[in-house]
Point group: C2
Chain length 247, copies 2
């Protein structure tokens, strides 16, 4: 499949998801920012993203209480892939919105359940715990989910909340096409890739890694340096742009 | 004003413009792409944009029939600035939409007139001329506007139409934050800047240039090389990213 075709298909899916109320208008703008960064990494999974994906799979597999945080864009673009990943790494799914309304929380939960999720945490009053450092109602989490999680995967999260979750001592795995974003900068493992490519890749990596001995899985975490890896991701963009300068 | 504040204010204006029907959901995504590129040029007018703005002002002033093409995003973000520019360089304003409906054409025309435009070309059956190389209804232009224009300013245009207009022998001035976009690549003068900064800057440059002798205005056109200038714009992004790699 041609990458530009996938980009147009994904865009179309998001426009429809806004019409159905799953995604907010601000989510469309955020998606556009992602499209631009995807464009300058060549609309493909770059080597730095592979490296981060291996570290992320290892983190998820050795976690005691891993949680996948889901917002409107993530649900619309990668809902089914997220359900599959949650099953593979035994993670909970929690809805967590920047533009929070009870209607949209319920809509996203229903959407995820239709795609096969057994349970969706964090809906309405279930999000009764407050995490520090960010202003309400974005600070609300489910005490049975993100509240007691040791590893949280946040596809398409905002920087403040990523920082607040790290400050609570949780290991954050981000999926964000912008390697300069605060989310990418503060996460423990930052996957600089499109969510529609990253989540299936993460599931695949986790499946393979399950067959490895624990010590080898550990190796993928201890040998990973997020700062260096992010610099490599930025380097890929620089290379791409320098190619254009010679045209 | 802090650039991030301006970015949030602009984003908010566009979300409201979508709610009112001026902007389509796809316009929000396009705006997000612009936001990302604005971010990697530091949310400021880069030197390459100043150079292109001077060449653009000169082109507009020596044009016989300059036209400013307006779509939903341009009208929502820079409507008043476009009216001011049109007055300064004696240009016509023509509505030209990618996602074309008669309702939205009328809405945009009304919006521009409320902001002071005397006339808005290209609404409905007025767009009776077809330009080659692109599929209908995007190919429709007003024979009294873009149809007979020698210079067309296209803020936020798509690449196919930019190419088609250049193929018709018109000089195209683009305003596009993405220096790699087809629009930027095919235009005669590509201003790599945010439309909310670029249009007022273009008006200011035109005002100053009006006081110069014709030979000096000519100088700004003949000494301008769009390819070199675009490479400089990409170079600015590369420099910005390399700063991050050292962090």
């Amino acid at each position: 499949m041609h990458p530009r075709f996938l980009s147009l298909k994904t865009r179309d899916a998001l426009v429809k998801a806004e019409a159905s109320g799953l995604v907010v208008p601000q989510g469309l703008i955020a998606h556009g920012r992602g499209e631009a960064f995807d464009y300058v990494i060549g609309e493909r999974t770059i080597p730095a993203a592979y490296t981060a994906t291996m570290a992320a799979a290892a983190l998820l597999l050795r976690a005691e209480r891993p949680v996948i945080s889901v917002n409107g864009n993530a649900a619309a673009l990668a809902g089914e892939d997220i359900v599959r990943l949650a099953f593979t790494v035994s993670a909970s799914i929690e809805v967590n919105l920047f533009h929070r309304t009870i209607e949209r929380e319920r809509l996203i939960a229903r959407h995820m359940k239709k795609l096969g999720a057994k349970e969706v945490l964090g809906v309405g009053s279930a999000a009764s715990k407050t995490i520090g450092g960010i202003s309400s109602p974005r600070a609300k989490v489910d005490p049975d989910g993100i509240g007691k999680a040791d590893v949280v995967l946040i596809p398409l999260e905002d920087g403040d909340r990523a920082q607040a979750l790290e400050d609570e001592g949780k290991k954050i795995i981000s999926i964000d096409l912008n390697p300069l974003s605060r989310t990418s900068q503060v996460a423990s493992v930052s996957i600089v890739d499109n969510v529609v490519r990253a989540v299936p890749a993460l599931t695949e990596a986790s499946r393979k890694m399950k067959e490895l001995p624990q010590s080898q899985v550990e190796q993928y975490v201890s040998s990973f340096n997020n700062k260096t890896n992010l610099a490599n991701a930025i380097g890929e963009i620089v290379q791409y742009l320098q190619g254009w300068m010679k045209n």
